[in-house]
Structure formats: structure tokens, C-alpha cells
């Protein structure tokens, strides 16, 4: 009786990730293809449109920088939603999603920081200024790294998922605080040199390549995220198969 009910539960446990794996296999090629298409279009647009008369060629950095920065925020939002999924709905895929998203988010944040720095050197004459956006993005980067470190430090995936979900949510609460507090701090100390990119104020000449690149980056994120989730599920299966092998070996030793 107990053997039977266990088998049933194991099956229903796996049903969800299994369906996800099948779905991932089906959609991944399409996502990847769309990503490549949009990137090709975006890069072509970025290099064929005119440069800014003030900034010259360097304005093209924007087409990488802005989408990367936007994704660094969106990735954290995805993680926060996944954290809610872990804690509130106990969805089996939620913690896989959060764990898979962290390194991707860290990479996009790093990309945003590096391109911002490259852009800042010709514009502001310095690789780094402690201005509002930069500081808040840097703190975001540190939070990603802390979360990755935490995930790596715990061996039991179920427990580390719930615990780091708590931290993701606390960090999410903190993001607006960091943003506004640094702006406040900034007005007191040094004149703001914040980049402003409100949609309508930007010239359509720049808007089209920027939007294309933003779509391309978003698609890239989803492609990477789904692939990373698939890898994480496989990694967990390998781990549990290994555990099983150890147990079986123990039983055979007893039988001998």
C-alpha cells in the first residue's frame, strides 16, 4: 500500500516539471530563432541610423546599455514573482525559475554597468560617477551576487529556495528605497547628471533601433531563462538519481 501511494505521489511531483520540459523543448528553438532575427534587425538598425550630432558614434552604446539596464530590473521582478510563487503557492517550478534567473540577471546588470561606464568616459570624462542610477544599479548587482552566493552555499534545494525567496522579497522592497534615497542624497551633494530617456522626448531616429533591441534583449532573456530552468531541472534529476544509486549500493551490500 505504502509503495503504491509513494509511486503515485512521485509521479504527480514530476508531472509538472516534465510537462515544462516538453514545452521548453518545443518553444526554445522558436524563441532562439526570434532572438536572432530581432538582434540582426536591431544591430542593422543601430548601425545604419545617424549618430547624435553632439555625442557622435558613442550614442550607439545606448542600444545595448538601455535594454540591458531594463532587463536587470525585469529579471529581479521575475525573481520576486517566483519567490512569491515559492512561498505562497508552493509551485514546484517557482524556485527553479528564481534560481535560474539570478545569474542571468547578474550578467545583464554587469553588462549595463560596463556599457554605462564605457559611455560615461567620453560623456562625463570619468569611468564611474556616484550618481543615482549608477549607484542603485551597482547595489542591485551586489544583491544578485549575494543571492547567487546564498544559493550555492546551501545544498538542499527545497530549503535554500524558500529561504532565499524571503531574501529576494526583502530585497525587492529595498529597491525603491535605494533608488529614491540615492536621488535625495545626490541633490544634496552634487548636481544630478541623470540620464533621462522618457519615451516621447527621444527622437524617432533613435527610438526604432532602441525598441527593436529592447525586444531582442527581452527575447534573449526568456530564451536563456527557459534553457537555464531546463538545465536546473535536469541537474536536480541527476542529483536524485545519484542519491538513488548510493541507496541501492547500500542495499546490495546488505544483501550480500
Amino acid at each position: 500500500m505504502s509503495e503504491n501511494s509513494l509511486a503515485i505521489r512521485k509521479f504527480s511531483d514530476l508531472a509538472n516539471p516534465t510537462r515544462f520540459l516538453a514545452l521548453a523543448d518545443r518553444v526554445l528553438p522558436w524563441f532562439a530563432a526570434c532572438t536572432v532575427l530581432f538582434f540582426a534587425a536591431g544591430v542593422w538598425l543601430s548601425f545604419t541610423t545617424e549618430g547624435d550630432y553632439q555625442q557622435g558614434e558613442t550614442v550607439r552604446i545606448m542600444y545595448v546599455h538601455v535594454p540591458a539596464a531594463w532587463l536587470s530590473m525585469m529579471c529581479y521582478t521575475v525573481m520576486a514573482i517566483s519567490a512569491l510563487g515559492t512561498l505562497v503557492w508552493r509551485h514546484p517550478l517557482a524556485d527553479v525559475s528564481a534560481k535560474a534567473a539570478a545569474p542571468i540577471g547578474a550578467c545583464f546588470t554587469f553588462l549595463a554597468l560596463v556599457t554605462g561606464s564605457l559611455w560615461g568616459k567620453p560623456m562625463w570624462g570619468a569611468w564611474w560617477v556616484w550618481d543615482a542610477r549608477l549607484t542603485s544599479v551597482f547595489v542591485l548587482f551586489l544583491m544578485y551576487l549575494g543571492l547567487i552566493a546564498l544559493n550555492r552555499a546551501m545544498d538542499d534545494p527545497a530549503r535554500s529556495a524558500r529561504v532565499s525567496a524571503v531574501l529576494v522579497l526583502v530585497g525587492f522592497v529595498n529597491i525603491p528605497i535605494i533608488k529614491f534615497s540615492v536621488e535625495w542624497w545626490n541633490t544634496l551633494h552634487q548636481p544630478a547628471s541623470v540620464l533621462r530617456l522618457d519615451g516621447p522626448t527621444i527622437d524617432p531616429e533613435f527610438l526604432w533601433p532602441l525598441l527593436t533591441m529592447a525586444v531582442a534583449f527581452t527575447l534573449l532573456f526568456f530564451t536563456l531563462h527557459i534553457a537555464a530552468m531546463r538545465n536546473e531541472i535536469w541537474r536536480r534529476r541527476v542529483t536524485s538519481l545519484r542519491r538513488q544509486a548510493v541507496r541501492n549500493a547500500g542495499r546490495e551490500a546488505q544483501a550480500l
Partner: protein
């Protein structure tokens, strides 16, 4: 609850507790600064408030990782989790006791160190006041980190890494309130009020999140 408060207070004041070490660390960090930036008194008095704040931030992170880990090692955490009293309150009281044992001595020691940094009376008073209002927030945030890292064998360093980014707003408003008090045109009250708001905010969020993490990390 009161029993828990006094027990934690006793534990940190007795031998091996964090009170003395925290204050000593604070003094050492601040004393190292003049060696680094040179003995220029004008410079020291200008960066003094910031240095005191950074020293206090680091010193209050020092003993935080033991907040729940010590309880876990001797099995007390199990009993704390089992009681009828909400875990939220238990965490809150533990934070309060930890602050009273490690944060408050830092606040009391800060005027002395302010003199070393050639700060005037106004600056010393403002620093003390902002430390008094701001250090509890660091303890409450730190409680989340401590609860998250409670099951890790070497969680100490990780707690600091996880907590420091979250503590940045406290540092920003603490320091800016002090500078607002010294430099005339900027008003003191707005940043100070925001500092207090952050403290109150984390006094709610911290125990809630720490309690959730403790419940989930039990094994």
C-alpha cells in the same frame, strides 16, 4: 518576552559576548582612519561623521550572525519556534536585546570618537542622534540575514554580504542628516525623519521576514 530580553542581554554582556568586542572594533576602525588619510584636522572633521557612521555600521554587523546560530547550536531555537507566542515577537525582542547590548554602546561611545575626529559639539550631537535612530534599522535588517544564514556552517561572512546592500539607505540618510545639521542651508529634519521612517519600516519588515526564514529553514 521580558525574560527573553534580559537573558539575551546577560548573554552578550557576559564573557564571550558581543558588547565589548563591538565597541572595541568600532574604536579600532575609527582610529585607523587618521593613519589612512593623514592627521589633517580639517579633513578629519569634515569626514568624521561619515567615518563614525561607517564604523558603527560595520561594528553592528559584527555579532549579528550569531543572533540565531547560537540558539540553533544548543537547541534553544527549536523551543523558541514551538511556543504559542508569535515567532515574530520573539524575533523582535531578540533584535531589541541585541541592539541594546551592541548598538547602544556604540551610540554611547561615539562622542568620544567624535572628539578624536575633531568634530564640533553640534556635529557630535547630530551624529549621536542619527546613530541612535539609525542603528536599530541595521539590527533589524541584519536579523533577516542572520535568519537566512542560520543553517549555514560558515554563515558569518555571508550575512555581512547579504545585509550590507540593504543597509545602504540607512547609511545614506544617517550621514546626510548629520551634514544637514552642520551645514546651514540644508534642513536637518527631512533626512532625519526619513531615517526614522526607514527604521520603523525595517522594524516591521525585518522580524516578519526573519520569522519566515526561520520557519522555513528548520530541519
Amino acid at each position: 518576552m521580558i525574560a527573553l530580553f534580559f537573558r539575551d542581554l546577560k548573554l552578550s554582556v557576559r564573557a564571550g559576548g558581543g558588547t565589548m568586542i563591538g565597541v572595541l572594533f568600532f574604536m579600532t576602525v575609527v582610529a585607523v582612519v587618521p593613519f589612512g588619510v593623514g592627521p589633517d584636522l580639517n579633513l578629519l572633521s569634515r569626514i568624521g561623521p561619515a567615518m563614525l557612521w561607517i564604523g558603527a555600521l560595520l561594528a553592528s554587523l559584527l555579532g549579528l550572525d550569531r543572533l540565531f546560530q547560537a540558539e540553533r547550536e544548543d537547541g534553544s531555537l527549536d523551543l523558541l519556534l514551538m511556543q504559542e507566542t508569535p515567532l515574530l515577537m520573539t524575533v523582535f525582542v531578540k533584535c531589541a536585546a541585541h541592539w541594546a547590548a551592541t548598538g547602544l554602546p556604540l551610540v554611547i561611545a561615539s562622542p568620544l570618537l567624535g572628539l578624536f575626529m575633531n568634530m564640533n559639539e553640534l556635529a557630535i550631537g547630530a551624529t549621536m542622534l542619527t546613530l541612535l535612530a539609525g542603528t536599530p534599522a541595521i539590527t533589524f535588517i541584519g536579523a533577516v540575514g542572520a535568519a537566512v544564514a542560520v543553517a549555514l556552517p560558515r554563515g558569518g561572512l555571508l550575512v555581512s554580504i547579504l545585509v550590507l546592500p540593504l543597509a545602504i539607505p540607512v547609511l545614506i540618510f544617517g550621514v546626510s542628516a548629520v551634514y544637514a545639521a552642520i551645514e546651514d542651508p540644508a534642513p536637518f529634519l527631512p533626512p532625519f525623519m526619513i531615517l526614522m521612517a526607514i527604521t520603523l519600516f525595517f522594524a516591521v519588515i525585518g522580524p516578519v521576514a526573519a520569522a519566515a526564514a526561520l520557519r522555513h529553514s528548520a530541519d
